[in-house]
């Protein structure tokens, strides 16, 4: 779950990472009030899309009236398909140099990794590899001052700035670990006459660990269908085509989409209804798909932890209660295959054993419909 900048900065503040003084406002009048208290300000749209600055979501204002106008413009602006409910009004910081600092996960090293560069403010992808210091941290040891000194040596940083880094890095590491972050990024990290200040905050919390953080608000920038799928704990992504696809397992679902495309069709979605789903959950997944009004339904089941009889039962049940009047191509093999096939046959539904046949049949059904 990505956090809005102001929520990220709330966390920074809690972990003693300096942030500019600011107010979160919900209308242009409040923005003007905030500016009258703070003086020269920057007015920032609170949306999750990157490239917010380039798209005009950040403005400077030197009077309350300017802040009001800037906020008005930002509240009416659509950025990446979303409009902001909140705007952050912050005291403008006198920046001497823009740096980059982040903690993220290095999957190869199986460790958190500190990323530091003296080239901040730009898109991190544009920072040359040799200007970015990467330091993987063993979690049993934690981020120690010697590591920060070594990072500073590599950066060519000494004196006061090194002292600042030695204070700041362990705080960000602590936040990263305790808050179950996947990413905690400060770009730019502003060097000012008062020391280092986090001018921006990009924090992503691990969805699988959200249960440990009931105090964090739940942020959702998703389509209505994707939200519904999330409620049902399904992995669902909307796509552009008209063959609805349901499969079990992320890899085989991707491969099914690839094969639909290979045979000249276009998938309407990615839907992995997971392993070991019961009849109830499988029925809900089916109903969700049917709600998208696809032209053809393709079901590809290779049962491992998923049992074929459960999927067949759910399909028969949904067909009985809701009616399924679109053409269906069904592939069913694996655990409890014969039981599943018997249920489908009883309901008068034909099924395939090969994925190739089922997918090419689905594309033919589309062409015929």
């Amino acid at each position: 779950m990505k956090l809005y900048e102001y929520l990220g900065k709330d966390l920074f503040d809690r972990y003693d990472i300096p942030v500019p003084e600011g107010r979160v406002v919900e209308n242009p009048e409040q923005a003007a009030e905030a500016a009258s208290e703070l003086g020269e300000v920057v007015v920032k749209s609170q949306v999750l899309t990157g490239k917010r600055g380039k798209a005009g979501g950040i403005s400077f204002a030197s009077s309350p009236e300017e802040a009001r106008l800037a906020a008005e413009k930002i509240f009416n602006m659509e950025l990446g398909g979303f409009t902001a409910d909140k705007v952050l009004v912050e005291k403008k910081v006198q920046i001497e140099q823009e740096l980059y600092l982040a903690l993220t996960v290095d999957g190869t090293a199986q460790r958190p990794v500190v990323l530091v560069s003296l080239d901040g403010g730009m898109d991190v992808e544009d920072v040359p590899e040799d200007r970015m210091i990467r330091w993987p941290v063993d979690v049993t040891v934690g981020l120690q001052p010697f590591m920060v000194r070594e990072i500073c040596r590599k950066l060519g940083v000494e004196g006061n700035l090194q002292k600042e880094f030695i204070k700041l890095l362990p705080r960000l590491y602590k936040l990263f670990r305790e808050m179950d972050a996947e990413l905690a990024e400060i770009n730019p990290l502003a060097l000012t006459s008062q020391g280092l200040i986090a001018a921006d905050a990009k924090v992503t919390i691990d969805d699988d660990a959200l249960y440990r953080h009931p105090q964090l608000p739940r942020i959702k920038e998703k389509t209505a269908l994707e939200l519904k799928a999330e409620e049902l704990d399904l992995a669902y992504v909307e796509l552009e085509g008209d063959i609805a696809v349901m499969a079990n397992g992320a890899g085989i679902t991707m491969a099914t989409l690839d094969m639909v495309q290979h045979y000249g069709g276009a998938p309407a979605n990615f839907l992995d209804f997971g392993g070991g789903a019961d009849v109830e959950k499988t029925s809900q997944a089916l109903e969700l798909l049917l709600g998208t009004n696809p032209r053809v339904l393709l079901i590809n089941i290779f049962g491992g932890i998923t049992r074929c009889d459960v999927v067949a039962e759910a399909f028969a049940r949904v067909r009985e209660s809701k009616g399924i009047d679109l053409p269906v191509s069904f592939r069913l093999v694996g655990t409890n295959e014969s039981e599943g096939r018997a249920i489908l046959e009883k309901a008068g539904i034909k099924s395939f054993t090969s994925m190739d046949e089922a997918v090419s049949h689905a594309v033919k059904l589309l062409d015929a419909s």
Binding site: D206, L239, A250, G251, F270, G334, M355
Partner: protein, 291 residues
């Protein structure tokens, strides 16, 4: 021969009394796996499929020494169970659960490194040395002995491909599921290295997907250090960028981890990449026949 596990491997099942734990205990026993005990706190003294259940891993290994443990434990409690197994001396840990928090996974891996233990997963179907021992949840009938090693990031897609091999009379030495999460224990390179050393494995099938750089790293390893032929299939050719396709790791971010970059890296390393799962057996036969 096989890698990591064989018919002598002694296995514990943590979470044995649960729904999935008891079902798969039965399936693994039916495959021939030597399951020596189960662990479910508070359920000690019971038995599942004739296998005794203990309250703790320490208690279990006091009664019956064990080499490996497979976890059917809900994600929020998986870290504790995994650390318990490592502390009790388990050397091969198979983490079935999905949704284990990332920070927990890093804690588990750090401990495993210190203990020189192998972790398979999390979010994996496990591993199987065909005809000898299965520590996982894959359907039994597809895993017959033969000359091909298989390593995969995804589960069901791996069954699909092994199913095609089996249909074509091609069996497997060991099949390893790495798991779909961002932090997993074994990587392609670790498993490829074992297959290269295994005298019975004559070819390797690598099943990958978009996202991350694991396939590119595998390609570099194959190029520098492998003499055995490698065949690959990759999922996600049609996936749009920026969308997480089910697995936590399966996302094209900022133009990295694309299908094209992986195919290019593997092809450059001499790997034949199949464009459909059905085409894998023919490519495998090309390199194993007559050898």
């Amino acid at each position: 021969m096989s890698i990591y596990i064989n018919d002598k491997t002694r296995v514990l099942v943590q979470g044995m009394t649960g729904n999935q734990g008891s079902f798969h205990t039965g399936q693994m026993l039916a495959y021939g796996t030597r399951i020596v005990g189960g662990v479910s706190p508070g359920k000690g003294g019971q038995s599942v499929e004739g296998v005794p259940v203990y309250n703790t891993v320490f208690e279990a290994v006091e009664k019956e020494p064990a080499d490996a443990s497979i976890l059917f434990i809900p994600a929020p409690f998986a870290k504790d169970a995994a650390l318990e197994a490592l502390a009790a001396g388990i050397k091969i840990l198979v983490l079935i659960p999905e949704h284990i928090p990332l920070q927990d996974a890093m804690d588990i891996m750090a401990q495993a490194r210190q203990n020189n233990a192998v972790v398979v997963g999390p979010n994996t179907f496990g591993l199987v040395s065909s005809g000898a021992s299965k520590i996982g949840i894959m359907p039994n009938q597809y895993f017959i002995p033969g000359p091909v090693g298989v390593v995969s990031r995804s589960g069901t897609l791996c069954y699909e491909i092994v199913g095609h091999l089996t249909e074509n009379g091609v069996g497997t030495t060991t099949v390893v599921g790495l798991g779909g999460d961002r932090v997993v224990g074994l990587h392609f390179i670790d498993v490829l290295e074992e297959f290269e050393k295994d005298s019975d494995t004559r070819a390797v099938v690598l099943v990958g997907e978009i996202g991350g750089s694991a396939e590119e790293e595998a390609a570099a390893f194959i190029k520098s250090s492998m003499s055995k032929p490698v065949i690959a299939y990759l999922a996600g050719k049609s996936a749009p960028p920026g969308k997480r396709m089910g697995h936590a790791g399966a996302i094209i971010e900022r133009g990295r981890g694309t299908f094209e970059s992986k195919v290019e890296a593997l092809t450059e390393a001499g790997v034949k990449v199949a464009d459909l799962p059905t085409k894998v057996p023919a490519l495998v036969k090309e390199v194993t026949d007559g050898k």
